[in-house]
């Protein structure tokens, strides 16, 4: 099934608030081998002027990924997970994510286009605290190759 071209311009409802914990930030940093105490030790983070531990720059993907999963789960979108490849990713950081944040991602499909048998979807996810503060904008391009 092809991707619905009418997806372009659509914005999904924001994801459920994701409560960012110290443990989650520490586990994410550890998984990529980062030992900087700003990610693991609240005292060290406070000493550096942060209210709590801060996350590595790619951490917002955790919340953006939930929004992408919601898009893939939408039967009307016509996307099949096993045919989707992450082609491109970019983060514009307003401020680092920190423990105590409650974050939602609102995903907008910015464009849908065809290129050599592949459908390319460009998406933008605005990641905000539940109070509406923008912390990061995550841009993802997903390549969808429908079976012939």
């Amino acid at each position: 099934m092809p991707v619905d071209p009418g997806l372009a311009g659509r914005t999904l409802p924001p994801t459920r608030p994701y409560a960012v914990s110290r443990a989650s930030i520490s586990a994410f940093a550890a998984a990529i081998g980062v030992r900087d105490p700003l990610h693991h030790d609240a005292e060290a983070a406070r000493a550096a002027g942060h209210p709590d531990v801060v996350a590595p720059p790619t951490y917002p993907i955790v919340v953006a990924f939930q929004a992408m999963e919601a898009l893939l789960a939408d039967p009307q979108a016509g996307l099949e997970l096993r045919h989707v490849v992450h082609a491109q990713q970019r983060f514009e950081v307003t401020r680092p994510v920190r423990a105590g944040d409650e974050l939602t991602a609102a995903l907008t499909v910015e464009s849908v286009r065809q290129a050599a048998g592949t459908e390319l979807l460009t998406t933008r996810s605005d990641i905000r605290t539940v109070d509406g503060e923008l912390v990061c904008t995550a841009y993802a391009t997903l390549a969808h190759r429908a079976p012939a």
């Binding site: 720059p57 955790v62 096993r82 680092p96």
Partner: protein, 136 residues
């Protein structure tokens, strides 16, 4: 931070990625796509075997940037294209990912752009990989 002057080349960093790292990353990120832990599924979709999450490779690029800058919170932008999968063998050695960087000017004089070259087994795996970092 004179070493972050435009034109400067930044010392290459080498990071090792093993299957254990992929499992830890899957748990920490919520991305449990089986192509990152099951050879059977990975081969079924035409890959040579289990591959790293693109976001693991990107995170290592970000790790190099924060290592160079010496500040975990200096990154204001990070982006890349995923151009080639990073195959991670089922052994204790894993695969080496190398990240090198070149400092460039940025429109905002308080920032520099770092153009990144990211390779695994000698082959480039990310395209147009670049970061913008605040230097003052």
């Amino acid at each position: 931070m004179s070493f972050l002057r435009p034109g400067a080349a930044l010392d290459a960093r080498t990071y090792v990625v093993t299957r254990t790292d992929l499992v830890r990353y899957a748990g920490a990120s919520g991305d449990s796509n089986p192509i990152h832990w099951s050879d059977r599924v990975a081969r079924g979709v035409g890959l040579p075997g289990v591959v790293a999450h693109g976001m693991v490779t990107m995170a290592l690029a970000g790790r190099a940037v924060t290592d160079w800058v010496g500040a975990a919170d200096a990154v204001v932008e990070l982006g890349c294209r995923f151009t080639r999968p990073v195959v991670v063998p089922d052994d204790d050695t894993g695969v080496e990912v190398d990240v090198s960087g070149q400092v460039r000017e940025h429109d905002d004089p308080g920032c520099v752009r770092i153009d990144l070259t990211v390779t695994a087994g000698g082959a480039s795996v990310l395209g147009q990989a670049r970061a913008v970092v605040r230097v003052r």
